[in-house]
């Protein structure tokens, strides 16, 4: 008998996401046979930006997301640098990377310990840790206590990583120091020294606590190396430019199909957003540089407020696993557990790279080249948020913003079906997942969490409608 398992909200993600799950018994195994992902919040950032000074894009778009504001600041200033035709000083390149890198490590620590570990351990019997789900717990009391202790330690370490973000960024969330043409902060020696002091603590935590804990989890839950695979199509815009021309990056740009180890180069013109199953007026799939967004709701066959971005007409997963795979650092497999492992290894790679970068800063060097603002321009800025590829596209008319489009990581991962009816990456990854207890579908939670969804970022202009049935199952 087919069961509809309603769980809403799914907690420990950022933002409001609804997922409809159907569970049925197939070949004697109770499993997920259907999944639909739906966004739960509409703010309309693209509209809020129209008519603003282009330079404001950095400040406004950072506020798309309290968890990955830095990546939006980075995408916005890369976008503006391109539109203004300005080359930034080396110091600015490095500080942008240090602030973004600190946010990566902070976000990865937050994601594993605070958002994911509670799916596997028993916390203290009081809010906010009391789960009331008693499903598939495999850790000994000693290991459970170890992980809970590390959860508390992670609270401190992610706070310190945010302090690192603020050393050059000013504050976080929403650092003010990103600016078209460079960076506002200066790399004074005491800031370099302070950043190094924090790295002395952060790198050992990632290396000696975070990574071993993910490995411990992987050893206890090896079945999650086969659960939550999805398509295996992985895409990365690349991040952490190593030269001011952006020709070399710590984590490269590229894509692979179906878990291939043959990494292919990326052509941004092959990105198109489909709207057949989204609450927008039907139209041909279009690149965000020319995309239109006309809400229509209700609309037959539509169930999501997100568009469905596709590359070469295929759904692609984005995130640390995609980045590490494309860069050749991790190609073990595509699964729930591989996502956790790749994320942890990436945290160490970025943390160690920051040591080199910070010591390359020149306290006496320039940080800013003042750009000339054009009356009209089109441009885009590609980077990576902690949870995957992020792109901003814009158009300037009469010196003001006339178009701004964002494709966030979670728009890729939580995309609805496309024009051909092909499910989005998370939808696909849930199919076939065995569910022990339909009232406590912990397996589904674990797979969703491995993608680190951030619905705050999924900002497309969307119009909610009256079809309440769509929302019965949700993730918040």
């Amino acid at each position: 008998m087919k069961i509809t398992a309603a769980f809403d909200p799914v907690t420990r993600i950022e933002g409001h996401l609804n997922i409809t799950i159907e569970i049925d018994t197939v070949n004697g195994v109770r499993q997920v046979v259907g999944a639909k992902a739906t966004g739960g919040l509409f703010r309309g950032f693209e509209k809020l930006l129209i008519g603003r000074d282009p330079r404001d894009a950095q400040h406004i778009t950072e506020r798309i997301c309290g968890v990955c504001p830095v990546a939006h600041g980075m995408a916005a200033v890369k976008n503006l640098d391109a539109a203004f035709g300005v080359t930034i000083p080396e110091n600015a390149l490095i500080m942008r990377n240090l602030v973004n890198g600190s946010n990566f490590v902070e976000s990865h620590i937050l994601h594993f310990f605070l958002l994911s570990v509670p799916d596997f351990i028993e916390g203290p019997a009081m809010p906010p840790w009391q789960a009331d789900w008693e499903v598939d717990r495999r850790f000994s009391k000693a290991d459970n206590d170890l992980l809970m202790g590390h959860y508390v330690q992670a609270l401190t370490m992610r706070r310190k990583a945010d302090q690192m973000t603020a050393i050059f960024g000013g504050k976080v969330p929403h650092p003010p120091a990103y600016i078209a043409g460079g960076f506002t902060c200066t790399p004074r020696q005491e800031r370099i020294d302070l950043f190094n002091d924090f790295l002395d603590e952060l790198i050992p935590f990632v290396r000696d606590v975070y990574i071993p804990d993910v490995q411990l989890l992987a050893a206890k839950y090896p079945d999650y190396f086969t659960l939550g695979r999805g398509y295996g199509n992985l895409l990365a815009f690349g991040v952490f430019d190593l030269d001011t021309a952006g020709s070399s990056k710590l984590l490269a740009q590229g894509h692979v199909e179906n878990g291939s180890r043959n990494v292919q180069s990326l052509d941004v013109n092959q990105i198109a957003e489909h709207v057949t199953h989204s609450w927008f007026e039907d139209g041909p799939a279009s690149n965000p540089a020319s995309g239109t967004t006309v809400p229509q709701n209700p609309k037959d066959g539509a169930y999501s407020w997100l568009k469905s971005p596709r590359y070469n007409d295929l759904p692609y997963e984005v995130g640390p696993l995609a980045r590490m795979w494309v860069n050749g650092d991790y190609q073990n497999g595509v699964s729930t557990m591989d996502r956790h492992l790749a994320r942890a290894y990436e945290a160490l790679k970025v943390a160690e790279a920051m040591r080199t970068w910070v010591n390359n800063l020149n306290p006496a060097g320039a940080v800013y080249n003042e750009p000339t603002l054009p009356q009209s321009a089109t441009a885009y800025g590609l980077t990576e948020a902690p949870r995957g590829a992020l792109g901003h596209w814009m158009e300037i008319t009469a010196g003001k913003l006339s178009r701004y489009q964002v494709i966030s990581p979670t728009t890729w991962n939580c995309a609805p079906r496309d024009d051909a009816g092909v499910p989005g990456p998370i939808e696909q990854s849930l199919l076939g997942t065995p569910v022990e207890n339909p009232n406590q579908p912990i397996e589904v939670m674990r797979i969703i969490h491995s993608f680190d969804p951030c619905l705050d970022c999924a900002t497309h202009i969307i119009q909610p409608g009256k079809d309440a049935k769509i929302f019965r199952m949700g993730v918040c």
């Binding site: 309603a6 769980f7 809403d8 909200p9 799914v10 907690t11 420990r12 993600i13 933002g15 739960g40 919040l41 509409f42 703010r43 509209k47 809020l48 008519g51 603003r52 000074d53 404001d56 997301c65 309290g66 968890v67 509670p118 916390g123 203290p124 009081m126 809010p127 906010p128 009391q130 789960a131 009331d132 789900w133 809970m148 202790g149 508390v152 609270l155 310190k160 945010d162 603020a166 000013g170 504050k171 969330p173 929403h174 120091a177 506002t184 902060c185 200066t186 302070l194 320039a366 940080v367 800013y368 939670m445 705050d456 202009i461 909610p464 009256k466 019965r472 199952m473 949700g474 918040c476």
Partner: protein
């Protein structure tokens, strides 16, 4: 993990100046914590970015009485508040999570913390936050359901306090596309007498949020300004326009002398950013003195110290129009 109430009191003693507590406040706090059950918080997320929750995770204060011992967010959560509902950190999910909020609602007397503005267009369906007994709940409906039993409402961040980012936009045809109203406007329409405290900021400073929680544990009704902001944190500009004005208290203010001068471009240390668009002259908070991101060795930075302009994020008209002059 257990942190004693004594340790919390030590934190409050050590941090008394920062939190604006006097000796009698501390005595009352001790009595309150000794005699009653911990206060319950129901924390809802609406039209916002959840950055205030992330900011609150950065709460730090050193306990000077016990070398090496610190009070962190974990300590606050474990010992001093009962965080019944907060979707970013809570372990439970789905109906189990919603049931926890419902249980707190039945007991009453909770503090309702609101993060994010209230979208009212499309019957509030621009923000759907949960399903309870098969019925979807919008943020708007949930606030309506929870206002009556709340001892107080704390609006954390500028989107909750004033509408903020989702309410903005210079283009009159494009602005506020989801019909956001501020939480105080919405809550007051349900119960005009409800105690509402705004803690604006984009994000709110973690110590501001902690300050509000401590005041409510104490049963204090803090003095508020015309926009429901605590005067202890944001000043009272009608009485003293200088007291908490960021520009007046900025170490870069040219009136201080000492060779201070105006910046003509970005990336210059020590220069006043007023002529580039800095909103310090029209913004009121204790940022220049508290700074941001306190840790074992003090705060590490704040917007102006990294040569970033103050963009007026605590003000009721934030983000307004163009930031740059």
């Amino acid at each position: 993990m257990k942190v004693s109430r004594r340790s919390f009191l030590k934190y409050c003693t050590a941090s008394a100046a920062a939190l604006g507590l006097g000796f009698s406040d501390l005595q009352r706090l001790e009595a309150a914590l000794a005699s009653s059950s911990v206060p319950t918080l129901i924390w809802l997320h609406g039209s916002g970015c959840q950055g205030d929750s992330i900011s609150f995770l950065n709460l730090f204060s050193e306990d000077f009485a016990l070398p090496g011992a610190t009070l962190t967010l974990a300590d606050v959560l474990i010992t001093h508040v009962n965080l019944a509902y907060h979707t970013v950190v809570m372990a439970s999910a789905a109906q189990t999570a919603v049931t926890m909020a419902n249980q707190a609602k039945r007991k009453g007397g909770y503090v309702l913390v609101l993060e994010g503005g209230v979208p009212t267009a499309f019957d509030g369906r621009a923000c759907i936050i949960a399903t309870d007994g098969g019925e979807e709940l919008t943020y708007q409906q949930t606030i309506t359901n929870l206002t009556g039993g709340a001892a107080a409402v704390v609006c954390v961040g500028t989107c909750a306090s004033f509408g903020g980012i989702p309410m903005s936009g210079p283009d009159l045809n494009e602005r506020n596309p989801s019909g956001v109203v501020s939480c105080p406007d919405f809550v007051s329409s349900i119960d005009p007498s409800k105690l509402i405290i705004n803690i604006p900021g984009c994000p709110a400073h973690p110590e501001w949020i902690a300050w509000a929680v401590v005041q409510l544990i104490l049963g204090n009704v803090p003095a508020l300004d015309a926009f429901r902001r605590p005067q202890a944190l944001y000043g009272n500009r009608t009485i003293n326009v200088h007291g908490m004005n960021i520009h007046e208290n900025c170490p870069r203010n040219v009136n201080l002398g000492g060779g201070n001068s105006h910046a003509t471009t970005f990336g210059q240390d020590g220069k006043c950013l007023e002529n580039l668009g800095c909103r310090g002259p029209s913004t009121y908070s204790n940022c220049p003195s508290r700074k941001w991101h306190a840790g074992e060795n003090g705060p590490v930075n704040w917007c102006v110290d990294c040569n970033g302009m103050c963009i007026g994020c605590v003000e009721e008209d934030f983000p307004g129009n163009d930031f740059y002059a």
